[in-house]
């Protein structure tokens, strides 16, 4: 004999309320759609997922470097190779992210209640810049010495240097391997979930153009159109 389950609608459980709100905002078919509006047919759409892919490579190579410690890559061949992968993944990340941002600008991708999608994407780019900078000053080589002694002046001039000291390797390393990556990953997660929720921005004057077409959607909720970013 089983006890009757509480009515989830009236439940006072915080857990149930969070679940209800989560599922309402992002039902599974929205979160992981298996269909895409036919207008999502351009190479420009690739750069969103490519940005996330590059970020995954950065995190993967960064985790290996973190596991072995900051000096390892200077005196081992495999360490230097992993550092190279980390560096080039960063270069790729910024390249594809910039193309992605330009693409979204020319789509005016903030339309239709998507301003938060734009804002989270733009802030991600801005937070990625100090994330990379803290990596550069954590290299423990001449490049790190020079960048630290130069970057301090700009940061000191606006008072940031009082609590963010680029010549303090320990502090910069903490920012680079934990604090700023957490911020970037959190922002990217929020960005992707917002894309999932609102869908990929449609072309201009979609309503006029779509009228003759008949729906063949696997998902009756059109706002679940978003899959790519």
């Amino acid at each position: 004999m089983s006890a009757a389950r509480p009515d989830p609608v009236r439940s006072s459980s915080w857990t149930v309320r969070v679940r209800e709100a989560g599922v309402a905002a992002l039902p599974p078919e929205k979160l992981l759609p298996d269909g895409q509006p036919t207008y999502v047919a351009s190479w420009i759409y690739v750069f969103g997922v490519a940005s996330i892919a590059a970020l995954i490579v950065i995190i993967g190579s960064g985790v290996i470097l973190s596991l072995k410690g900051p000096a390892w890559w200077h005196y081992t061949g495999i360490g230097h190779f992993i550092n190279s992968v980390h560096l080039w993944a960063v270069e790729l990340f910024f390249f594809v992210m910039v193309v992605h941002l330009w693409g979204k600008y020319w789509m005016a991708a903030w339309r239709g209640g998507r301003t938060r999608v734009w804002i989270t994407g733009a802030v991600t780019f801005l937070v990625a810049v100090p994330t990379a900078l803290t990596g550069y000053v954590s290299q423990q080589n001449f490049d790190a010495q020079w960048i630290a002694t130069q970057a301090k002046d700009g940061l000191n001039s606006v008072g940031v240097g009082a609590f963010f000291n680029v010549t303090n390797f320990g502090q910069m390393y903490s920012y680079h391997v934990l604090l700023l990556p957490l911020a970037v990953v959190g922002l990217v997660a929020a960005h992707v979930l917002l894309v999932r929720r609102h869908g990929v921005v449609p072309p201009f004057e979609l309503n006029e153009r779509a009228a003759p077409l008949r729906s063949a959607s696997p998902d009756s909720d059109s706002s679940a159109a978003g899959a790519r970013s």
Binding site: Q36, Y39, A50, S84, F94, Y136, S157, R214, A216, R228
Partner: protein, 342 residues
């Protein structure tokens, strides 16, 4: 809707999609993307590797260019080096940069206190044992009135600065400063410098032995990760700048976005770097805060693009969207116009 409100909040012409859907495998695409990006990063690593120029040390600096080291150390002792006259967050000897009424450098005060005479010269010298002459020289210097210290320091610094200037301008070097090529010791023919020559000889010897590197780093505790003092001391000398110039890393060489060797650096800082190349920033004593404020404003505008008139209309007016949604518009071509009415 008024024209102004239309500019601030452009008409939302997005409607629920009633058209066709194509099959799409999100997880598969993401997995393939990760594979491709990993492969690209690996191929680039195999082809180009990554730069790793060894760091400079105070020992290298003092051995390679002893006169430059002694000159910089004398300026630290006299309180006239760039670090000594920096202001916050290192000391109160200057107000720091400002823009109009904004003085955040001053407002945030001194958070990493550095007394260049004590931290870079006197305290390290006091760690040297077994040298009574040096110990008495330091004691004599510390006991002297400030006016006397200044006179000693300036007397000793003058021929050194003349030597450095002549070397920089590739002129005949003055004979008041001589370098012993076998011991790398620096001799300065000067009178009225009190104990400063002995102190500087001791500091040079300590630096050349490698002891000053450790002394600057571990002045507070054994485990140390804060390289502020050795980095600031070295940046007051010429070694870092000389190496950076050779690698095109100076500010007027677009150095902020460059990397050692021929590698791409932080190219995403190009807009930050460009301001340092143009007036009024280039010649301004407050260039750093001005550039930071400009970049802060531009960053804010970047975030707020959806709300900025004109900027948020450009994508409608400049039909790049026709390329992006080329297939979509082609599929609809027989039904009417092929672009939005701006």
């Amino acid at each position: 809707m008024s024209r102004l409100s239309e500019l601030l909040a452009p008409r939302d012409d997005t409607q629920p999609w009633k058209g066709r859907y194509a099959h799409y495998d999100l997880v598969k695409e993401a997995s393939i993307a990760v594979g491709i990006m990993a492969l690209l990063a690996i191929v680039l690593s195999v082809l180009f590797s990554s730069p790793d120029d060894k760091p400079s040390t105070v020992a290298q600096w003092s051995r390679g260019t002893p006169v430059n080291f002694v000159t910089a150390a004398t300026l630290e002792l006299n309180g006239t080096s760039p670090t000594a006259e920096y202001g916050p967050p290192y000391n109160h000897n200057a107000a720091g940069q400002h823009a109009w009424f904004l003085r955040p450098q001053k407002w945030l005060a001194v958070s990493h206190p550095i007394n260049t005479a004590n931290d870079f010269v006197i305290d390290p010298l006091r760690t040297v044992s077994g040298d009574p002459t040096l110990r008495s020289a330091v004691a004599e210097y510390q006991a002297a009135p400030e006016k006397t210290k200044k006179a000693w320091g300036e007397a000793y610094a003058k021929p050194l600065e003349e030597y450095e200037t002549a070397a920089e301008e590739k002129k005949t070097l003055p004979k008041t400063v001589t370098l012993d090529s076998t011991t790398d010791a620096v001799s300065v023919q000067v009178s009225g410098a009190g104990p400063v020559p002995r102190m500087m000889a001791g500091l040079l010897s300590l630096a050349q032995s490698g002891g000053l590197d450790g002394s600057l780093l571990t002045s507070k505790q054994f485990f140390q990760t804060d390289y502020t003092k050795p980095l600031l001391f070295m940046s007051d000398g010429g070694l870092l700048t000389e190496r950076a110039e050779g690698q095109h890393l100076l500010g007027d060489q677009w150095g902020m976005m460059n990397e050692t060797g021929s590698y791409p650096g932080q190219t995403w800082l190009w807009l930050y770097t460009v301001w340092y190349q143009v007036e009024p920033f280039k010649a301004s004593q407050n260039a750093d805060i001005l550039v930071m404020l400009v970049m802060g404003l531009l960053s804010l505008l970047f975030i707020c693009i959806p709300f900025i008139p004109i900027i948020n209309r450009l994508p409608r007016w400049i039909p790049i969207y026709r390329l992006i949604w080329k297939e979509h518009y082609r599929s609809l071509a027989p039904t009417g116009r092929s672009g939005p009415s701006a």
